[in-house]
Amino acid sequence: MMELNLFRLAAVFYTAGTAFAFVYLYAREDKWSRWMRWCLYAGAAAHVASFGFRLQAFWAIPENRFFLPINSFFGALSFLALATAVVFVIVEGRHQLGILGAFVLPWALAASWGAVWRASQMGNTEIHGLVPALQSYWINIHPAVLMVSYCIFGNAFGVGLALLIQERQVKSKRPSELCYRLPAIEDLDSLNYRLIAFGFPILTVGIIMGGIWAYGAWGRFWGWDAKETWALITALVYAAYLHMRIVAGWRGRKAVYMSMFGFTCVVFTFIGVNFLSELHGYLSNR
């Protein structure tokens, strides 16, 4: 219970942080950006504490010992929310881009409330014994690596959205206050590119790790399971983005649309596939 309560607290902090991010988008005062950051720190702290309780409960089951509890839908959403917030704080800290909070943090918000919703549906936070196939050190690596790449793509999506808005602002010849608040078009474009160029190898490595694990657990490297297929499609879309960007010089709107399509694939791979996949479904509880 402590775990869920702390998790709800974290979700509330993320919500407040996102709200401050939106206020900061329109109000000039820097204090909103500071409030946003403090909410994220507080949310992450509550989140980590909640995860501590989760770990304790999870490891109380002997066969689960020292594996990470991110196999369930709740665990995965929780991890995504935390990683999105942390990736944003890092990106923002490096580039002083608190202004992008309004574009990125909604994903942390959605993931954390999604997890709260899931817990209320299930009546618990989905802590049960791992099936033998999952009792492998790969469970500590393969999903985590992939979800980190998802978060980076989530950040890239937010940056892309900001780019579309900024581009429209400058093109309109009547730029509003927002234009002067958002980063420059070329800076957003290069950040979008760099995030994807950083996330893509992580995604690829994550998929290959999954293959190696699958070989050990199920005796085959690749089996065209729905999750595998969609992960591959996602990787191909981002590969195409990188190719068009580097070789064909795609920039601005066209490139952003492509990267956004990539992120749609990410979301589908994460959620939609649950209804299709036999082996990777969080909903099928395997």
Partner: protein, 350 residues
């Protein structure tokens, strides 16, 4: 301790301040005041104002201070001189630091000048508890007003609006290169603005080669032969049109050719020529951003009206911060301990 202020500014007299003060610099003034026995004073001297802030135990000293200033000016300052005490002196200094008393309201330079004035006094050993707290507070309020209100946002000239827009496209301009078409006064003015934004390269093309060369050498730019400028469109980031040509010199076909090799990089075209230098259909290209003189003038008008609104918010903030400080000053004068927070909280905005 009490705070007194005596000074003269562009608001109180239209005379040339430097001339009327007989060339007395801030350092001279500090030295003379020290010799005259003043122990705590700061002299703020700019092109538009000359003010002495002093802490004293005797409120009658304000007249003594005024007498000093008049003596330096040989009596020429008689009319323009104003004096303030305590709370009024505080709110005056805060308003000055916030740029609300400046010729161009909200200008940024004054904050640095207040800082320099304070540092000079400090170096001369002429600051004490009151002046230290007062000036640090004034600098804080000056920054707060600029960050929390729009009083210094929005550029007020066509050239500076153009530079601000360029920064919305390219970010920091130090990697951007610029091509200027024409070598007239407007071309030069815009070029100087861009140079102060530290653009990496400046090319100047003009139909008359000699004129291009003259302006280029004055600005340390590169002159370009008129027939060569279309080729430069492939590499530059910003193009400024300011020729006196009667027909557009920058055609859609030229830009189309250039875009083929630009790899999607943004091209910002600032057309400040009358009649226009660039064909308006250029704007149809995704990565080309074309602003005409009317567009830029429209933005200047918007900025002006916005700034007028923001002045009210800035005045409210300065008023609140001055009252807070005046209360502290009173407590301190009565010998009581009072805390002054450097809170970043703004006064409620109307």
């Amino acid at each position: 301790m009490q705070l007194v202020l005596v000074g003269v500014s562009h608001k109180s007299g239209s005379l040339d301040l430097r001339e009327s003060l007989g060339g007395v610099s801030a350092e001279d003034a500090l030295r003379r005041l020290k010799d005259a026995g003043w122990s705590e004073c700061v002299v703020l001297a700019t092109c538009n104002r000359f003010e002495v802030y002093a802490a004293t135990s005797n409120s009658g000293d304000v007249d003594a201070l005024a007498t000093h200033l008049q003596a330096w000016s040989n009596g020429r300052l008689e009319q323009g001189l104003y004096s303030r005490r305590d709370g009024e002196a505080v709110s005056h200094l805060f308003a000055v630091a916030a740029g609300l008393d400046s010729l161009v309201v909200g200008e940024a330079e004054i904050l640095g000048q207040v800082k320099q004035a304070y540092q000079a006094a400090s170096a001369a050993g002429l600051t004490g508890k009151l002046t230290n707290v007062l000036f640090q507070r004034a600098l804080h309020v000056g920054k707060l007003v600029r960050s929390d209100t729009g009083v210094s946002s929005g550029q007020l000239s066509v050239a500076s609006v153009a530079v601000t827009l360029a920064e919305r496209i390219f970010g920091d301009l130090h990697k951007s290169s610029v091509l200027i078409l024409g070598a007239g006064t407007m071309a030069e003015l815009t070029a100087r603005h861009l140079l102060s934004a530290k653009v990496s390269r400046l090319h100047i093309a003009n139909r008359t080669w000699e004129k291009a060369r003259t302006l280029a050498s004055a600005l340390e730019a590169e002159p370009v032969r008129w027939e060569d400028f279309p080729r430069l469109l492939e590499s530059v980031d910003i193009v400024i049109g300011s020729t006196g040509a009667s027909e557009p010199v920058l055609t859609k076909a030229m830009v189309e050719e250039a875009i083929k090799v630009r790899q999607g990089r943004s091209l910002f075209i600032i057309d400040i020529a009358m009649p226009r230098d660039a064909e308006s259909s250029i704007d149809e290209f995704e990565h080309a951003y074309l602003y005409s003189l009317e567009d830029l003038e429209g933005l200047v008008r918007e900025n002006l009206s916005m700034r007028r609104k923001e002045i009210e918010a800035a005045e409210t903030l300065v008023g609140a911060k001055s009252a807070e400080f005046a209360a502290w000053l009173q407590e301190a004068a009565a010998g009581r301990q009072a805390a002054l927070r450097h809170s970043a909280d703004a006064a409620p905005r109307s």
